[in-house]
Symmetry: C2
Subunit: 651 residues, 2 copies
């Protein structure tokens, strides 16, 4: 980033800023997700030692605050206020023209504002940006994670440095009693592992040691003062993708993030397929467990290598996963999850060691799992509720985690209801003619007008259609009128009158009608093109009807109507990338202004981070078990009728 003043920065009327709050330059104003694919942020993480200054490029949904984009990707920025612009600590320098808020005006000098300095929590990533991040200045007492959540740092992992009196004939207390007596505020129970080494460590270290405590357990005693060295890994253990974030628990900041496909993929794309596999062959459960462990282990190695952290200094792990992923990684027989009446072995596995899930971190590292509300509203959703503050916000809010199994939560600020809707694989590209996962070559954005505009992941030749592209394609075709209110392509004869510029793209493969989204070359036959077929539209209709039936019934349970919803949180690796406008158009979410529809990002992973940073938040997640009512829809007499009502696009 150039250090010269940027000519594009508009003149700022500071008085107007103070008066109006937010001052936006023309064309850059407060931006909701407009469905324009992802934006790219290039972070330059400055270091007092220029040799250690690093660069990272990340892609996020548009509209995400720069602070969140950094945090989700393991880039630490000072902050203690929870993204409300009040702590004035999350200072970054942004290249190019960026709106100035009244908080920026309070925080920076005119010269700094001209130079691009802004508060990261108030800059929305509406376009590709280059961002300079200064070194962390202070040890924070709180960290900002999740969707605008601020947590006071109080990890389950605690360290206490003590200098003990040496034993004498007048004071023959056992080593462990001597140590524990010196720790005022905690009464941990020593692991045998600790007792084995304790005499040697104490004496080698002249009785100056650091006790390592996780929850109720004394897991290690380290020579000297190591209080600053404590790490944990937060996992979002998804059926498809697994994300690991290495956290510095002393600072409350992410150190590194990595993600990869769940190595269980070869056993089936969704949870039901994997459960079925264990029912066919008793050898499959241990293999699935091993595959999950290998995934976690590989990610742990990656984030530790990237963060230059010794895995032995990782003392705790939090895992947010659905009930099936949780059962499989623990080697718990998942069969009852897959057949009615859909029963878990446990809502919250306790007292699990990292070694129990095949992780080679600190030998006595603990694993914290999120509690699950039901077989299909698992720990990942509870983590998501935590990250979005579903139990703390007085607004009427709807939380949707879109996927093969779609979890839905509605809160009226008082009661919280949850349910699960079997949406099927459409959002993951399954059962879709040209469907694919959201990888390079996937069409993720579709705009129809005089022409077809495509957003393609990796900016390469389109190869297929991912979930957000599918939603966009159907929504746009409905908008231009080529799909009618029942989801059927209009007759060939009508198409030229409805959308002259697009009509020639409506054709057939065999008997089936298709809409050509991308032709590799002008003469390509439909079979060689990326197309949306009539059956694809039907698949999406079924998926969205399952979901909208779910939240419709939950809202009715609370005596609410669609218009009462004040915010919709679209969560999960699919939901976060669906265009709000398209989601509204096809009826996936209530018909609301798109500003009320928020991409919440990887909230399961954020919840896992919160649980590691704060035992209070962790207790809050456990309290959700009591606060949230799980509503089973599959045995409701009116489900099918309501489902059929929801199939259309509402004209």
């Amino acid at each position: 980033m150039s250090s010269s003043a940027d000519d594009d920065v508009p003149e700022v009327d500071l008085d107007a800023v103070r008066r109006e709050g937010l001052l936006a330059p023309p064309g850059a104003g407060p931006v909701a997700h407009d469905g324009a694919g992802r934006v790219s942020l290039r972070f330059t993480v400055l270091d007092p030692d220029p040799e250690r200054t690093t660069q990272r490029e990340v892609r996020v949904p548009p509209g995400v605050p720069v602070f969140d984009a950094a945090s989700w990707n393991g880039i630490a920025i000072d902050s203690t206020c929870g993204g409300h612009g009040t702590c004035h600590k999350c200072k970054v320098r942004v290249e190019g023209s960026t709106p100035i808020t009244r908080h920026d005006v309070k925080t920076f000098t005119r010269e700094q504002l001209d130079d691009g300095w802004r508060l990261a929590c108030l800059v929305q990533a509406t376009r590709d940006l280059a961002v300079d991040v200064p070194p962390l200045t202070t040890r924070p007492k709180a960290a900002t994670v999740g969707v605008g959540r601020q947590v006071i740092l109080r990890p389950a992992v605690q360290k206490r440095y003590v200098e003990l009196d040496e034993p004498s004939l007048a004071d023959q207390r056992p080593d462990i009693d001597r140590l524990l007596a010196a720790i005022d505020d905690l009464e941990p129970v020593p692991d045998l592992h600790v007792l084995r080494r304790l005499p040697t460590v104490l004496r080698a270290a002249d009785f100056k040691v650091t006790a390592v405590i996780v929850d109720e357990a004394l897991v290690d005693v380290e020579p000297g003062d190591t209080t600053d060295v404590r790490y944990a890994i937060a996992y979002d253990l998804g059926t498809t993708t697994v994300v690991a974030t290495l956290l510095d628990l002393a600072l409350g900041t992410p150190v590194a993030v990595a993600s990869m496909l769940n190595k269980q993929q070869p056993f089936g794309g969704d949870v039901i397929t994997r459960i079925s596999a264990t029912m066919m062959d008793p050898e499959t459960l241990p293999r699935l467990q091993q595959a999950a462990s290998a995934t976690l282990a590989e990610l742990a190695a990656q984030v530790c290598a990237e963060g230059e952290v010794d895995p032995r200094h990782v003392y705790e792990v939090a895992v947010a996963g659905n009930a099936t992923m949780t059962a499989l990684v623990l080697g718990i027989d998942p069969e009852p999850l897959g057949v009615a009446p859909f029963v878990m072995a446990t809502s919250q596995p306790a007292a699990v060691l990292a070694t129990d899930v095949g992780l080679d971190l600190h030998p006595r590292a603990r694993v914290a799992f999120f509690p699950a509300l039901g077989a299909y509203v698992g720990g990942d959703i509870v983590a998501g509720m935590l990250a979005t503050g579903m139990d703390r916000d007085k607004r009427v809010r709807l939380f949707i985690d879109v996927g093969t199994n779609c979890e839905i939560v509605v809160s009226d600020g008082d009661r919280i209801l949850s349910t699960a809707a079997p949406a099927g694989p459409a959002f993951e590209g399954g059962a879709i003619k040209c469907g694919m996962r959201a990888a390079d070559g996937a069409i993720e954005v579709v705009r129809l007008g005089d022409d077809v505009q495509l957003g393609v992941i990796g900016d390469v030749e389109p190869k297929g259609l991912c979930g957000s592209g599918l939603v966009d394609a159907v929504a746009e075709l409905a908008k231009v009128g080529l799909l009618d209110g029942t989801g059927r392509f209009v007759p060939d004869a009508q198409a030229p009158t409805i959308a002259p510029a697009l009509a020639d793209r409506l054709t057939r493969i065999g008997e089936e009608r298709v809409f050509v989204l991308h032709r590799p070359h002008a003469d390509a036959p439909p079979e060689e093109c990326v197309v949306l077929s009539q059956r694809d539209v039907r698949e999406l209709q079924f998926a969205k009807a399952a979901i909208s039936t779910g939240w419709t019934l939950l809202l009715e349970e609370l005596g609410l109507e669609h218009k009462d919803v004040q915010q919709v949180l679209m969560a999960g690796s699919f939901g976060s990338y669906i265009s709000p406008a398209s989601a509204v158009r096809i009826g996936l979410v209530p018909k609301l202004p798109v500003l009320r529809i928020v991409s919440a990002g990887n909230v399961a992973g954020e919840g896992a981070k919160m649980a590691l940073l704060s035992i209070r938040e962790r207790a809050g997640a456990e309290a959700l078990l009591e606060e949230v009512t799980y509503v089973e829809l599959s045995d409701r007499a009116d489900f099918n009728d309501r489902f059929v009502e929801q199939l259309g696009f509402g004209g």
Copy 2:
């Protein structure tokens, strides 16, 4: 045993019995230990199925109640009253003439008394006996163990059989919640091990299962009703000998007992040698741990085979061992135990699994260790205090566990003091010219008069002298006057006038004076004989002085004199076999009537059994940590002076 009436049974004056209490036939009266070696008891354990009737022969110190002799050796006899003759349940039939008590008269008909029926708790084994034991009749609520201790059965191992409602869409509770809700009185925490199998087990067993709980942990869920099947193993983990007792926790009875030498023996005979070995070579600690584990495992296999019990049904283990044995079996660095200021790593290792000490029992079996009062008053002594009720008896009592390290406890019925005295290896045959362990060929009893009478273990040719034989030999030589009050052999010239029949046995090997105890043949030179040397006498003097200095100082701390002691308990595998009369004569114990000196047997093992049978007793053992004051003698200014005072035999 013949079923014919035994002509030796005397006529019984039943009125006299009722009037006087105990009626003893001539020459068989109430017998204290008179030092006559061991007696042999041949038990015939009757079974309703004659094919399963078994025989066992055991050897015990004379004077031990038949009930205790059976219990110590894993032979179950009905009892609930604690050996006070009140429950009238411990019925056995004894061959030959046996005293009849008033409790016997209340319990049995004249014909039964004539036929040899007695209450086992009131029959003292003063001679070799044949004893018929009838099958167990009732499930007791209490068991008699230790030294006349009765414990209400309440093991840490609990089983609960439950028949659960099957899940439905209206009741989707997780499996573990469903199970735990059906258990009213306990709230165990499930092991991961249990959760892994729970769904499968519940459904295979039609939701009729038995929960297995150890302390706070749910360790298994077994199909069907297995509440009667629960076992535990009590270990006395001695430096020299290890004893294992398999207990039926449903009945509170021993099933099988086995003992063997500690496989750590090759690393040194006493704890200091073994600790030193770990200091020389870091590889030694794991080898010592492995040796201890192998000892425990071999004994477990033996008792399970003998009791026909599946090791998977052994859910708990209790270990009573000294601080060093406890550290070594757990792999805890023992070095600080071996050097001043003698510090333990922990007074009570918590949360240990059987697998942690190399035992292949139930995979989640727990190990309970006894708390230790100090590096040299370990868990074995606390177990012994529990078994002897040191904290519950209002009498002034002295407890002495004789060994290389001798532990001493004194209670005045209110305060309890303990200390350790370094007696050296004399009692184990170490540093003694003809010393040996108490094995076949060891002289264990010596009587001097007109001749030398020897009691030899195994009734074979004498090969050497064990601890009790050494004490006897010195005591008898002092009694006849061949040793003077300072412990020196009288001059050769005086010997014939003092003990004419024995004087020729006083001779020399090289320069050293020796007393010949056994000549293999008439012309054998002293070098080929079993002898007691002047240096042996000195070794014993040092050993007994260390011990008597210990209890003298403890008594002084309590403001008591020797004569105030109402009972001396001689414990441990050495102490139990020392002749009380000889112990008094050499000053090893206070000068008291021998009736007040009781061989308490393997009290550490008995304490371990109590801990397994009753969590209350286990809590009592833990409470001893607070109730007992450990007195460190090694830093007392007056210790050396007092030690010198105690060296002689008091004339």
